[in-house]
Symmetry: C2
Subunit: 277 residues, 2 copies
């Protein structure tokens, strides 16, 4: 049964959203919907325009026999700023203050709507880069990594501070946590990373950058390379940071425990190389 345009638009939107950055041939859609490639091309023009106008992303079209279409997640700057401002306001809530100046963020790291948006935004800063896999560290990096992985359509691997029997053999390194200067161990299952993999490092929080730097060193053991570094929150740090080239969505500029004030601003996502729609 031939599909009508309206049905094709709904199903193609669903398909493209579920397969970011995947090159889909026009033949695939043409066969699925029993429709001419010229009709499919017209559909894609409508989808591309709507995606761009609504801040969903864009479609890249590659011509030729091996060509097709790719959905690339992108965001509009004004929508991203609105989202970041909401997040800042939520993080600045003094109820989040814990003993020692730590912040309670567990609720945000378990909010599926927030995670989806965080993942979409961080992914959009790397959606044009060649990335094979995302790496993060247990436990709190996992939700962010998974959300970014979803929007970049790549797998993610989890570095652990302990090691589990179900991981098989592992590679471990020692590293120095940047702010507390403590010696710690991190390990990754040997099967997790292929040699030469291009890896996006993702974490929920970065201060001195010791943990992220540990992951950079661990990558070297796998002969893998860093394709980028993305964190949800970076914290102001007076000394020299161990990591230079990173993208942060939010920046914690000051935590005043006595005065119960948390100062949060937008991260370098907004002031760097991010390409907006």
């Amino acid at each position: 049964m031939k599909f009508r345009r309206s049905e094709r638009l709904v199903d193609m939107t669903h398909y493209l959203m579920n397969h970011p950055r995947k090159l889909v041939s026009l033949t695939y859609f043409s066969q699925k919907y029993l429709s001419a490639k010229s009709s499919i091309s017209e559909d894609l023009v409508i989808i591309k325009e709507t995606f761009e106008n609504q801040g969903i992303g864009t479609l890249q079209t590659l011509p030729g026999a091996a060509g097709g279409v790719k959905y690339i997640p992108k965001v509009k700057k004004e929508q991203a700023e609105e989202f970041a401002n909401q997040l800042c306001a939520s993080i600045a809530d003094s109820e989040r203050l814990l003993p020692g100046g730590y912040l309670f963020m567990t609720d945000l790291l378990g909010d599926s709507q927030v995670l989806n948006e965080v993942g979409k935004h961080l992914a959009s800063a790397f959606s044009d880069r060649d990335i094979d896999v995302i790496m993060t560290v247990a436990t709190k990096g996992i939700p962010i990594a998974q959300a970014v992985a979803h929007h970049l359509n790549v797998p993610f691997v989890v570095v652990r501070r302990d090691s589990l029997v179900t991981e098989g053999s592992t590679v471990s390194i020692n590293y120095v946590s940047g702010s507390s200067k403590r010696l710690q161990t991190m390990s990754l299952s040997k099967r997790s990373l292929k040699e030469g993999a291009k890896v996006l490092i993702v974490d929920d929080f970065m201060k001195a950058g010791g943990t992220v730097n540990g992951m950079v060193n661990l990558l070297a053991e796998f002969n893998a390379s860093v394709a980028g570094i993305a964190v949800l929150v970076e914290s102001e740090f007076q000394e020299e940071r161990l990591v230079e080239d990173y993208v942060s969505l939010i920046k914690l500029s000051d935590v005043d425990v006595k005065g119960k004030k948390i100062n949060v601003v937008k991260g370098n996502f907004f002031f760097g190389k991010t390409e907006f729609l």
Copy 2:
């Protein structure tokens, strides 16, 4: 600027997919697209038909002033069986066998496409139930919980075996792991669960059910109730299981370490109360 039907269909599909189980008023769409409610209603008929035909889900329409439309994630039985069969074949790979009869599953728990499908399928079995929050246990339950949470549009909370300063005050219980009979501790941040919350327990793997049963007991400490239990893989267990009413997508029926054979079949998701499209 008034939206054309084709643009509305693309944007509404995106919006509904990103907001499962949320009641969206026709007024919201009507104002967003500067279109008459009668046109919006016609759009929704097209989306509903396409969602159902393609195995994406369904739309529930609630009439009246407080009414609107809800996207309910559902799957078709034949598509679900195809997905489960692929998953079974992947899990039955003898390369997964680790010393002690454990299975390496870390790759699947980091595959964003697999996670999205697993989340969608498990969510579809509970999409008509009243659920406030999902609970899982660190570390390996997190990706499954997050994926299910995304498709049910609820937050998730993570029970830990250690306790972190960034969690604030916690409630802990001791429990007996069902198969190894060891005494263990699990704890959950006090702020994580509201009194009376209806909780879907999610985990990656269940054998005797000790960990899941621990979560059930922990819920009682919060005066919260069990709305359901969902696991990706259940393992055959000869003795009486600690947990009775659960949904599993996959069932590990036999692991023969010597013969290097792993026997995996479809879980009770396919033989229970799941409503398919």
